[in-house]
């Protein structure tokens, strides 16, 4: 019984990895490619590590497998965020079918200032404090 579960987890995990690779190859855009790879590959690694934890069934090995799972779950979104941010600033071209790029009119890539779109004349005024900080 546990062999069946292990085999199913191995096959599903490796299939998700293949799916991530196919998505990386087929999708048209940096952001859509990242959308394909990050989640599917993380799910594949999680399933394979669960299979190895079930295969060995010792405390140390299970702890290491869960450490890998937690590590992947923590680092995959961080890496995707950092690469996506860098790619946006470098100026990688978006797909021609992109519906909306909400960041472009509101963001100044030189000063890294983000506008909220709610600016009024009243909000733009600065009210410095009367007390001197020194």
């Amino acid at each position: 019984m546990i062999d069946v579960i292990k085999g199913a987890m191995l096959l599903t995990g490796s299939s998700f990895m293949l799916l991530a690779a196919v998505g990386l190859l087929r999708l048209p855009d940096l952001l859509t490619r990242m959308h394909a790879t990050t989640k599917a590959a993380a799910l594949g690694v999680i399933l394979i590590m669960l299979a190895s934890a079930m295969h060995f069934a010792e405390v140390g090995v299970v702890a290491r497998s869960f450490a890998i799972i937690v590590f992947i779950l923590i680092t995959a979104p961080i890496a995707a965020h950092v690469i996506g941010r860098a790619g946006y600033f470098v100026g990688s071209r978006l797909w021609s079918g992109t519906v909306k790029d909400e960041l472009r009119p509101n963001y100044d890539p030189l000063t890294h200032e983000l506008k909220s779109g709610m600016e009024t004349q009243e909000n733009a005024k600065r009210y410095p404090r009367n007390t001197d900080p020194d």
């Binding site: 990895m17 940096l30 590959a41």
Partner: protein
Amino acid sequence: METVILISQVIMGLALVLTFVRVVRGPSLPDRVVALELFSTTVVGLVGVYAIQSGVSSFLDAAIVIALMGFLAAIGFARFLERGGPRDD
């Protein structure tokens, strides 16, 4: 069980080949960085499967190290992209 392990290794090898095609073809440097990150993740999966196949649980330590290396490489490439420098796409 051996057959299942062999099938999953073949599938992940195919995934590595497809990822390598993107590394070669990728039109810009961020695409290649994404492909390399997927590469390291797939290698982590392969090492896990090989730990099951060989019955040696110490390979999982190697998988931890490979995952850490892939993450640090992605962070480093992203910092390099954002800070600038000579680029040749």
